[in-house]
């Protein structure tokens, strides 16, 4: 009876975790770019401020496509934009995307000459718009930072708001997904940057984020195990249950510990190909979303 609910909830498939990952990574890239721009470090970290953000329109648009594919009553999607429901994380997520997606396009447009030096906007009104946004670039960076943070946190809060799924129902998910998004964003710059000093700085950022994530994951499990029976059962899926191997190997070992160790070695002046830890971090960030979304649907109240 009732497919997608019986015998287990199975309503969200690859689209949601993929979007949570793409959105989280875009949020990380934009927050880092905005922070360094606001602090006037554009010259030192030019890849992070000017080049890496070019990924974000693609990440966000692919994320939005994934979300759209997930909707089952597609032609009514515009109903999202007929109201703001403060109690629904999905509602303010939809509005956040409405702001951050155009902002990411504008930010790229302002830096298009860093990629195509001879770029010409051709039309006068576009040039006027460019001049306008250049004048208010600092304000734009603040908008980007704040909405980037909201985007990064909301992808976690979206899940933690569901009391019905004990695994998701922990406020740790918001900061955990934000930290994971920031570390995936830093990893993107680590791949793209050709500047030694910048790469070192981003290896350091990644390392800090990995430390925070490990701390939050330990904290999350302490929280589950000290909570009610339903959350103890939820934690058991990772401590001997069905998700034990995938979570500890793909997320914790390959996604956090190994890249953390490699980055530590790199900072200690060992020669490490920087792309390896960066790709592992991005992979771990993707796996974290997939495992949490799928495992969460298996966790339930007992009655």
């Amino acid at each position: 009876m009732n497919e997608m609910i019986d015998p287990n909830l199975n309503i969200w498939h690859w689209q949601i975790p993929l979007y949570l990952f793409l959105g989280g990574m875009a949020a990380g890239i934009l927050c880092i770019a905005a922070t360094y721009y606001i602090r006037g470090r554009e010259k030192d970290y030019s890849t992070a401020v000017r080049i890496t953000p070019f990924l974000t329109p693609f990440l966000l648009v692919f994320g939005l496509i994934a979300l759209f594919i997930d909707l089952r009553h597609k032609l009514y999607f515009w109903q999202l934009y007929t109201n703001i429901k403060l109690q629904s994380p999905m509602s303010w997520g939809a509005w956040t995307l409405m702001v951050i997606t155009p902002v990411s396009f504008i930010w790229c447009a302002l830096h298009i000459r860093d990629i195509f030096p001879g770029w010409d906007w051709k039309f006068g009104w576009i040039k006027a718009l460019e001049a306008f946004f250049n004048r208010y670039k600092k304000t734009l960076a603040w908008v980007m930072l704040i909405y980037g943070l909201i985007l990064g946190i909301y992808t976690g809060i979206l899940l933690s708001a569901f009391n019905a799924r004990p695994l998701w129902n922990t406020s740790i998910l918001g900061p955990l997904f934000l930290a994971s998004g920031l570390s995936a964003g830093a990893a993107a710059t680590l791949i793209l940057s050709r500047n030694k000093a910048e790469r070192m700085q981003f290896a350091r950022i990644d390392l800090v984020m990995i430390g925070i994530e490990i701390f939050l994951i330990i904290h999350m499990f302490m929280g589950y195990l000290a909570s009610t029976q339903v959350q103890i059962e939820a934690a058991r899926m990772f401590l001997g249950g069905n998700y034990t191997v995938s979570f500890w190997i793909f997320v914790v070992i390959l996604g956090l510990l190994v890249p953390g160790l490699l980055e530590l070695l790199e900072l200690k002046k060992f020669h490490v190909p920087g792309i390896v830890p960066a790709i592992l971090v991005i992979f771990g960030s993707l796996m974290l979303r997939f495992i949490i979304v799928y495992a969460g649907q298996m966790s339930r109240w007992l009655y």
């Binding site: 109903q79 429901k85 649907q297």
Partner: protein, 177 residues
């Protein structure tokens, strides 16, 4: 006004007549249901105890589905009945994930569907279809604010429980025990 339903677990024989009545009354697509029967066996042989419950949406007073709906398609109607407006539903699945009772399902047409307490019948002074057909008369429906309604009277006389009240939903489906 506060609509509620009471289910007598001691009288219910698990015949599923309520399920079929609902499917017929509400044109529920084949392979889906808005109400269902749960049988729970407790204890150790030979000291066994069997509880049979006819379950459906709890029309919670603090509904997680209404809270998490991004468009307002899930909403409260008169008497606290929780309804989905198909023309506002985008089929995102948030309410399905938010319901600890798994009372909602995705209609093949794309929107989310669930028990309505047969609001179309109540408005015409009738009882919900499941209550009407129950052969053991184990379902009671009515307004909790009306002390003479069927449900108020039976809840005053009998002991009852609700399902996982600790989920914080204030469910309005009462099980007589």
């Amino acid at each position: 006004m506060r609509y509620a339903m009471a289910v007598d677990t001691l009288k219910c024989v698990g015949c599923s007549d309520c399920v079929v009545a609902c499917q017929t009354e509400n044109n529920v697509p084949i392979g889906y249901c808005r109400d269902w029967v749960v049988e729970v066996t407790d204890g150790k042989y030979p000291q066994l105890e069997l509880e049979i419950r006819s379950e459906r949406c709890n029309h919670c007073a603090n509904s997680p589905c209404v809270r998490c709906c991004p468009t307002g398609a899930s909403h409260y109607e008169e008497g606290g009945i929780v309804l989905v407006k198909a023309s506002e539903c985008i089929g995102c699945g948030a309410c399905i994930a938010s319901c600890p009772y798994d009372a909602r399902y995705l209609h093949p047409d794309g929107y989310v569907d669930k028990c309505t307490f047969c609001i179309h019948r109540i408005r015409n002074g009738m009882k919900p279809a499941c209550v009407e057909v129950c052969p053991t008369k184990c379902l009671y429906f009515g307004d909790l604010d009306d002390l003479n309604s069927d449900v108020s009277i039976v809840l005053k006389k009998r002991k009852y429980k609700t399902l996982i009240p600790e989920a914080g939903t204030s469910p309005q489906l009462y099980f007589l025990i």
